[in-house]
C-alpha cells in the first residue's frame, strides 16, 4: 500500500510538471506571452503603403518593443492600409501626436512599426488613430527614383 501511494504521488507530480512546462512555454515563448500577462490597448494608423508588414510584427518606441501589429486592412474608400496595433498598457502615456513609420530590420529583415512620440500633453487612448504616418520604403521605388532622377517627391508622402 505504501509503495502504491509513492507511485501515485510521483505520477501526479510528473503531470503537474508537464502542466507547468505547458504554461511556461506558452506564455514565455509564444505570442500568447505579454498579451495575457498584461493588458493592452489598440491604436490604429493609416499608411499609403505598408510594404510587406505582417500581422504580429513588433511595434517599437525608440527600439524597445511596446506591442504588436494586430491586423492590417484596406480602407475601401481611401485605399489606404489601416494598421491596428496592440500596445501594452505599461506604455499608456504616448502623446496623441505620436507618428508612426514602417522600417525594416537590417537589410533583409522583417518590417516593423516604429512610433515616434511627439510633444502633445494629451495621451493616446484605446481606439485612437495616429495622423502622422510614414509609409514603408519600397526598395524598387527608391531604385527607380534614383535611376530616372524624376521629380516625384510630392507623390510620396
Amino acid at each position: 500500500m505504501r509503495t502504491s501511494h509513492t507511485v501515485e504521488f510521483t505520477s501526479g507530480l510528473f503531470m503537474a510538471l508537464g502542466l507547468a512546462a505547458l504554461v511556461f512555454l506558452a506564455f514565455q515563448s509564444t505570442d500568447a506571452g505579454g498579451v495575457l500577462r498584461e493588458g493592452s490597448y489598440r491604436i490604429s494608423a493609416r499608411f499609403g503603403n505598408i510594404g510587406d508588414l505582417k500581422p504580429r510584427a513588433p511595434v517599437s518606441v525608440g527600439g524597445v518593443t511596446v506591442g504588436s501589429v494586430e491586423s492590417i486592412e484596406l480602407d475601401g474608400d481611401s485605399f489606404e492600409a489601416v494598421v491596428t496595433m496592440k500596445i501594452s498598457t505599461r506604455y499608456d502615456a504616448l502623446p496623441d501626436d505620436t507618428s508612426a513609420s514602417i522600417f525594416t530590420k537590417g537589410v533583409l529583415g522583417d518590417q516593423y512599426v516604429s512610433l515616434e512620440p511627439g510633444g502633445s500633453p494629451d495621451v493616446l487612448a484605446d481606439g485612437d488613430s495616429l495622423f502622422i504616418t510614414q509609409s514603408a520604403l519600397v526598395l524598387e521605388n527608391l531604385i527607380s527614383k534614383y535611376l530616372f532622377d524624376s521629380e516625384e517627391e510630392e507623390d510620396s508622402e
Binding site: V7, M15, L25, T30, D31
Partner: protein, 263 residues
C-alpha cells in the same frame, strides 16, 4: 514441381511476405479497437493507468531532459553562428522556438520515447507472455488486454505529450543558456523575439497535437509487438528491435503527413 504448385494453391491469400506490412497495419488497427473497446474509466483502471504512467513517464524523464537540453544548446549554437553573418543574432530564440515546437520537439522526443519506454513495454509484455503470465491472467478470467495492454497504451498517450513539453522546455532553456548567458544576447530581446514570432495556435498547439498522435503510435507499436511476440527469449528480443524500428519509421512518416496537413 507438382508439389510446389500444390502448396502454392493451398497457401491462404495475403500470407506472403510482400503483403506483410499491410497485414501488420490491419492487425494493429484491429488490436487498437480491441484495446479501446475495453476502456472502462473505472477507478481501478485509472489507478493502473497512473501506475503505468509512472513507469513509462518517469523512466524516460532523464533521457528526454538530457536530450532536450543538448538539442537546445546545439540549435542555438548552429543558428547563432549563421545569424552572426547576417547581423541578426536576436532571431536565435525565434528560430529555436519555431523549429522546436512544430518539428524537432515532437519528433525527437517520440524517437527517444520509442527507444526508452517503447522497448521496455514490449519487453515487459513479451516476457509476461513467455513466462505464461498472460495465460495465467486469462485463466483467472482476467482479460490481459484490459489489464496489461490497455493501461500501458493509455500511459504512453498521456506521457509523451508531457515528456515532449519537458523536452521543449529544456531545449528552450538550453538555447537561452547559450545565447543569453554565453553569447551575451539581451534576455529581453531573446524572449520578445520569440514571443513576436512563435505562434501559440499555429506552432505550439499543432506540435502538441502531433505528440498525442505519436504517443498513440509508439504505444500501440510497443504493445502490439509485445503482445504478439513469440513466447521465447529470442522472440522477445526480435519484438523489442521491431518496436524501435517500426515506431521510429512511423513517427517520421506521420510527422511529414501531419505537417503537410497542418500547414
Amino acid at each position: 514441381m507438382n508439389q510446389n504448385s500444390d502448396q502454392a494453391s493451398k497457401a491462404p491469400p495475403f500470407s506472403g511476405p510482400r503483403s506483410a506490412p499491410i497485414r501488420h497495419i490491419g492487425e494493429a488497427g484491429i488490436f487498437l479497437f480491441r484495446i479501446l473497446a475495453r476502456l472502462r474509466f473505472s477507478p481501478r483502471q485509472w489507478a493502473e493507468v497512473m501506475r503505468q504512467t509512472y513507469f513509462v513517464g518517469i523512466r524516460s524523464l532523464v533521457i528526454i531532459m538530457t536530450g532536450g537540453l543538448f538539442v537546445g544548446l546545439v540549435l542555438a549554437l548552429q543558428t547563432y553562428d549563421v545569424l552572426t553573418d547576417f547581423g541578426a543574432t536576436e532571431a536565435v530564440g525565434t528560430i529555436v522556438g519555431k523549429s522546436l515546437y512544430r518539428e524537432l520537439g515532437p519528433v525527437l522526443a517520440a524517437l527517444l520515447f520509442a527507444g526508452r519506454a517503447g522497448t521496455s513495454i514490449t519487453a515487459e509484455i513479451g516476457l509476461m507472455k513467455a513466462t505464461e503470465q498472460l495465460d495465467a491472467l486469462d485463466l483467472m478470467a482476467i482479460d490481459p488486454i484490459e489489464r496489461i495492454v490497455l493501461p500501458r497504451l493509455v500511459a504512453a498517450v498521456i506521457s509523451l505529450p508531457i515528456l515532449t513539453l519537458l523536452f521543449d522546455m529544456l531545449a528552450i532553456l538550453g538555447s537561452y543558456l547559450f545565447a543569453v548567458h554565453w553569447m551575451g544576447l539581451e534576455q529581453g530581446i531573446y524572449w520578445s523575439n520569440m514571443q513576436s514570432h512563435v505562434s501559440l495556435y499555429k506552432e505550439f498547439f499543432p506540435g502538441l497535437m502531433k505528440t498525442v498522435v505519436f504517443g498513440l503510435v509508439c504505444g500501440l507499436t510497443a504493445v502490439y509487438y509485445g503482445y504478439h511476440a513469440r513466447p521465447t527469449g529470442e522472440g522477445v528480443g526480435i519484438a523489442t528491435t521491431q518496436t524501435v524500428i517500426i515506431s521510429s519509421i512511423l513517427v517520421l512518416i506521420l510527422d511529414f503527413a501531419l505537417s503537410a496537413l497542418m500547414l
